[in-house]
Symmetry: C5
Subunit: 364 residues, 5 copies
Amino acid sequence: MAENDDPAPSSEMLRDYQDPGTPPGNLRPAQGESGLARMIIASYTPEGVGITEGRDLAAVTRLRGDGRVHWIHVVGLGDVELIEHLGRVFNLHPLALEDVLTLGQRPKSEDYDAAVFCIVQHLAYGPTGLASTQVSLFLGDEFVLTFQPAGPDLLAPVRERISKGRTRVRQKGACYLAYALIDLLVDSAFPALEALGAHLDAIEEGILESPDPQDITNLQHARRELLLLRQVLWPQREVVGQLAREDHELMPEDVRIYFRDCYDHAVQALEVSENFREMASGLLDIYLSSLSHRLNDVMKVLTIISTVFMPLSFLAGVYGMNFDTSQPGNMPELGWRYGYLGFWAIAIGGIGTMLWMFRRRGWL
Amino acid sequence: MAENDDPAPSSEMLRDYQDPGTPPGNLRPAQGESGLARMIIASYTPEGVGITEGRDLAAVTRLRGDGRVHWIHVVGLGDVELIEHLGRVFNLHPLALEDVLTLGQRPKSEDYDAAVFCIVQHLAYGPTGLASTQVSLFLGDEFVLTFQPAGPDLLAPVRERISKGRTRVRQKGACYLAYALIDLLVDSAFPALEALGAHLDAIEEGILESPDPQDITNLQHARRELLLLRQVLWPQREVVGQLAREDHELMPEDVRIYFRDCYDHAVQALEVSENFREMASGLLDIYLSSLSHRLNDVMKVLTIISTVFMPLSFLAGVYGMNFDTSQPGNMPELGWRYGYLGFWAIAIGGIGTMLWMFRRRGWL
Amino acid sequence: MAENDDPAPSSEMLRDYQDPGTPPGNLRPAQGESGLARMIIASYTPEGVGITEGRDLAAVTRLRGDGRVHWIHVVGLGDVELIEHLGRVFNLHPLALEDVLTLGQRPKSEDYDAAVFCIVQHLAYGPTGLASTQVSLFLGDEFVLTFQPAGPDLLAPVRERISKGRTRVRQKGACYLAYALIDLLVDSAFPALEALGAHLDAIEEGILESPDPQDITNLQHARRELLLLRQVLWPQREVVGQLAREDHELMPEDVRIYFRDCYDHAVQALEVSENFREMASGLLDIYLSSLSHRLNDVMKVLTIISTVFMPLSFLAGVYGMNFDTSQPGNMPELGWRYGYLGFWAIAIGGIGTMLWMFRRRGWL
Amino acid sequence: MAENDDPAPSSEMLRDYQDPGTPPGNLRPAQGESGLARMIIASYTPEGVGITEGRDLAAVTRLRGDGRVHWIHVVGLGDVELIEHLGRVFNLHPLALEDVLTLGQRPKSEDYDAAVFCIVQHLAYGPTGLASTQVSLFLGDEFVLTFQPAGPDLLAPVRERISKGRTRVRQKGACYLAYALIDLLVDSAFPALEALGAHLDAIEEGILESPDPQDITNLQHARRELLLLRQVLWPQREVVGQLAREDHELMPEDVRIYFRDCYDHAVQALEVSENFREMASGLLDIYLSSLSHRLNDVMKVLTIISTVFMPLSFLAGVYGMNFDTSQPGNMPELGWRYGYLGFWAIAIGGIGTMLWMFRRRGWL
Amino acid sequence: MAENDDPAPSSEMLRDYQDPGTPPGNLRPAQGESGLARMIIASYTPEGVGITEGRDLAAVTRLRGDGRVHWIHVVGLGDVELIEHLGRVFNLHPLALEDVLTLGQRPKSEDYDAAVFCIVQHLAYGPTGLASTQVSLFLGDEFVLTFQPAGPDLLAPVRERISKGRTRVRQKGACYLAYALIDLLVDSAFPALEALGAHLDAIEEGILESPDPQDITNLQHARRELLLLRQVLWPQREVVGQLAREDHELMPEDVRIYFRDCYDHAVQALEVSENFREMASGLLDIYLSSLSHRLNDVMKVLTIISTVFMPLSFLAGVYGMNFDTSQPGNMPELGWRYGYLGFWAIAIGGIGTMLWMFRRRGWL
């Protein structure tokens, strides 16, 4: 396993991976995860709901086939024993279980006989920038299994809806539950995009006020986050689109219409992120043109100063020469009565003429 | 719901969205809309037409199945009660109703059993730039329902055509009416594009006259509007293309030919906007090359001035030195009869030579 | 209708359009066209040919079904009465007739029951740049109708071939005639591309000799024309490709092979125009790098002059100081016998050293 | 016919074309070709081979149907009589014959009933740059016809393989021969690409050593050649891919596998040329950044010189002023004993301080 | 054969190729390979495994059809005799054998009757940059043949898994073995990408600290490696995708699911490399904007110095003029009591004013 302890920019782009040659289906704790997992089980019928929390492996075995819909949410990906147990009970493919435990995967969906498996990324924009959290989901006959790394429960809002009386989610079975969960995860992109948009706006404002290299560093950082976002949102759109189109016995037609709605959201999130990418490269153009403009301004000042004072200095230099004034032709101006006044008249007249010419050229 | 009160540039790109985890089909007033809605009902046969305006929910119930074509246009998206009532009477899917009340959606069309639903964006270019207004449309058997936010009635021209005697729109049923409305909305892109084109032309003129940072800000703003335009026009083309191709019982073949015509318009609007985008990036190139050219000009002036006066100043400095002229070899020029004249001859000759060289290099 | 009287750059990109909400099939004179149209009728069998010119509406009615192939070419799009009459006689769809009268359309082809309709753009490169002229064509059973705006007859070369003895065009019926006409129009792109290529070559030469802002304006103009060209050539290729592929009863297989040949031409014209677009952006790169190079040259001159004369001027300034030489340590050089010669030796030696260093750095 | 006698850059991109309106199948000598053609006929069975050279039209007629495979290679495209004769004998379509005589065509393949026709471009990189030579090929039942412009025989290596004993080409019939010829032509891209790559490497080296405008001209030339290459290689890949996929009675399955191999070569040539295009635009970036770097260096020298000597010159100027030193407060320094030494101490100290500051800023 | 002995940048992009016109299936030692090859044979059933190493051609013949799965790994591509022998024994197509011996091929897969053939590139990032090693694989009924150039055995990890007890690879037959080998090769991209990412991060750090031309050379080099990577990873994805999709009798459904997993890895490697390409062009933008910023800084220093000292030098020059002070109007300041102090007051006041203005403009 590759150890990515340093927060190098490029490493965000690379998923966690096992050494080439490792046999597939080899279950190990996910990178950075350890300890026992927490398991939240919601079992419901249209009439009632029961929610338990804990890590009772035996209880899981008893759940199968009691006529209720079971949603088991596992928080923490370091508990290989639990995950292997779930795999045996629900008959899950070892490749899928390996995917559950490998973080940084691109969203995907896979049809196994016993279950539809998919990986979706939850997005959030925190103080350190964009963070994506991998959530895996198995949809089977009467059950939904979800897995997330240790941390706050990302799927709590759906559990609340389940426990709140006879809502639609209670009445429509496991597939609708899967929809509700995936919809929640897909929609998590919108607040993240909003925050990222605000960040881009702030960078733009900074550049327009005064372009400095920090802006470029920030911009580069934001562009990298947009790349990451695209890496997540493109396949996510594919996943939801596939779920909406595909004719699978686990997915009744009246629920597929909801997946189509969710697909629209996934498309919209992707479009917004693509537009942000264009905005971000627009900002670089502004930055460069702004620098170029400032350079022009600086050079105009230099040129004006030089153009005004170089000829005058030359003139002053001339009258500082030591030609022998006893020779009649040598510097007679020095002896004139109004020589000095004449010099100033020429100097001030010259400055005026220059400034007038610069103004006509639009340099002032 | 996200509150986007600040007019930040990025927020235009993001549609209004509900908090992730909100159950679908949850009807609430659209963002920024409130109060009762206005409902304009046009009921017609080839022989006659009746237009009523108001908010009589009971009257709506009575309309169904009286053999006339009914077009109900709802202005204002804050009146959830009215919209729920229409949903019940015309058997509309709750997801579609939720879409009606969520502004900033990308154009789309969806086939429900009872009706074809589509969302189209009306475009206008006002003093504050490009504005798009979401209009939703349900086409059913003998009825068309349309919804727009509060404001001037965008669809009035079609109602006028209906009331003006035995025109084609009166004779061809609900699907042709839907075509007429969508065509009106798609064509609204052309005046908007024309105005945006004029704006780009004005920016170009400004840049060619004198490039200043305001031009770049304007250009950046126009580019963002072109991104928004693309975000609307791409899916709009898809929507109309789908309506023109799809074989649906509500859409007879002789009306589909009109949708094909409307599709051509949608394609053309998109192409023009893509060309505008290329023009806009061409303008940035002009701007940068223009700045670069001016910098060259400024630097040439500076270099000419320096090249002419630096050697002369040096010469004047030389003859301002105080070497002891009593020593025979020290600065004998100072005592020459025509020393001073000689100095000027050298100075003027030098200036002339320099200018001649600059002219030969093409710097003047 | 939008009045585009000003020759603004953006307006070339926008087709003529009617006010949104205007009912379709509403015939009006095309923009800028008025007066009666000229009608050139060529009626032929393999054995003989008759060509008449005029505006005899009644004669048109009598043409139908006399066993000859009729080609009616209408020059002038302001004569709505004539066009409506043709529409009635040949049973043309009103949407197609509206398209005939709307200039600036993108090339398209449409299958109506009675006829295949297509719009192609004739291209020419004149002194004011690229000009495209819309030609519409209806191919029916035994007839071809073509329409062009007032002006010189663009299709005359084909009529000549018809009248010149028993050529292939006389023997193969209406579809081959349609091919010959479309081939002529598609091939008109090649001389236009040749002229545009020569124009690009001239701009390149100008830039390589001396880059000035006029080059950029010309280049920008050429790029805009290439955008226009693409707007025409892309859909034109589609149109011809569709005619070559589609299995239509009006288009026998042995003529479709000719359309395939014509398709190759359309593809080639498009490819050349795309390559020209790449060449044009290459020219901008040359322009900018050339400016940058000149700036470097200018700055080198300035730096060389400054580096040589600033230290020397300082030295001359030093020996122009008025320290009291009666103090023994103060400026004893002034009293030395060869002080002045020494000064010049240092000056000339310094200049030489500088120039040698610049040469070694490759600045000279 | 367009006369492209001048070697203008744009004209390389345009194929030779006939005046719009010229009837198709109109045979004329190819552009720049004239005189009688040379015809090399190789007739073989697995057992034996006979090769004749000349221009015996009658002999050609006798070849048909004698059970041997005949490969007729025509060198020279000015001999319309010969080509028309071949067309009659082998029943070739007039459009194909016209294509044979029109140089500069994009590679294509066309299925006629009697024969498969294709055009491929032979590539070579000579001292004047990239040259492509059009070779046309007809594959029929037991015969292959090939045509090339006057010049050295491009296909000789295959004829050698035929005459060298019982090789595979002798045993597999006409289709394998066609494969061998097309493979030879497709593979001609590799030495051309190698030479072009070496040219790009040379330009890169030149830019890294010292960027001058000639590099940019060379680079622009190479980019244009890469455009030309793409214009050839894209459709060439299509042609070979079509031959490899298509199920045609003239092409047995066991030969199609060879075309798949040839297709891989065509794809690889295209990929390499696309990568060269990216390398070429990378070179422009290097050039510009290198210029920008040099400008920075030049400006640093100027700034260092100015910053050092401007204050010193000012100081020297101060002590060159002529204030009346008889007034006690006026320039007492001039009368000090160590005034002059003090001046130099300040000057040298100032220079040292400046240089130390520049070094700290990394300018030295 | 082309001799690419010089390490020119462009040559990495070109595969090894034979002279155009060479007959296909012509076996020669691969470029740079010679001598006898090493052959490692692993023969196994679920129950047992035997591994032998050597070059015993006769032994190979005896392997066929003994009910075990045989994996023959050939290290060294200069031993044409061995490869021809294997071709005869396992009935391999000569075109495939030629591909085995031609290095630098793009990854591909080909279906022959007796075997599936594919070429995959092993990637590694060493001290001299990215290196790709071509590995060829034949999957047949009960056998897998692999070939690699001389060097360390790239496939050893899979052989270890085979010899380590009753693992899955021992139980699933030849197709699963092929999967394990291809998965190993595809996954070799990840450590290479990680190293390349770290290299890009190092370049970025260097640019942000101080941009110098070496950074650009390094960046250019990295961009070229990313091009090479794309040249490998794009077709590699295709190859694995084809193996995962295709319905072939040699590939049972329960193994295809593993190829789908491997396909996900190939897609991810490609995506990461595309993102690195975007990051790399972002770095060039940073470099240029950083240079531009530094130029601005340099020019500000120059302008500040000039603006401060030019007027002062002029003033000092004025009071160094030699006007005849015996004339009352001529330079009376020279005789004033506090003239000199006044001069300094003006000078210091002027400097202060200037600096204050520069600070207000944000130049300091």
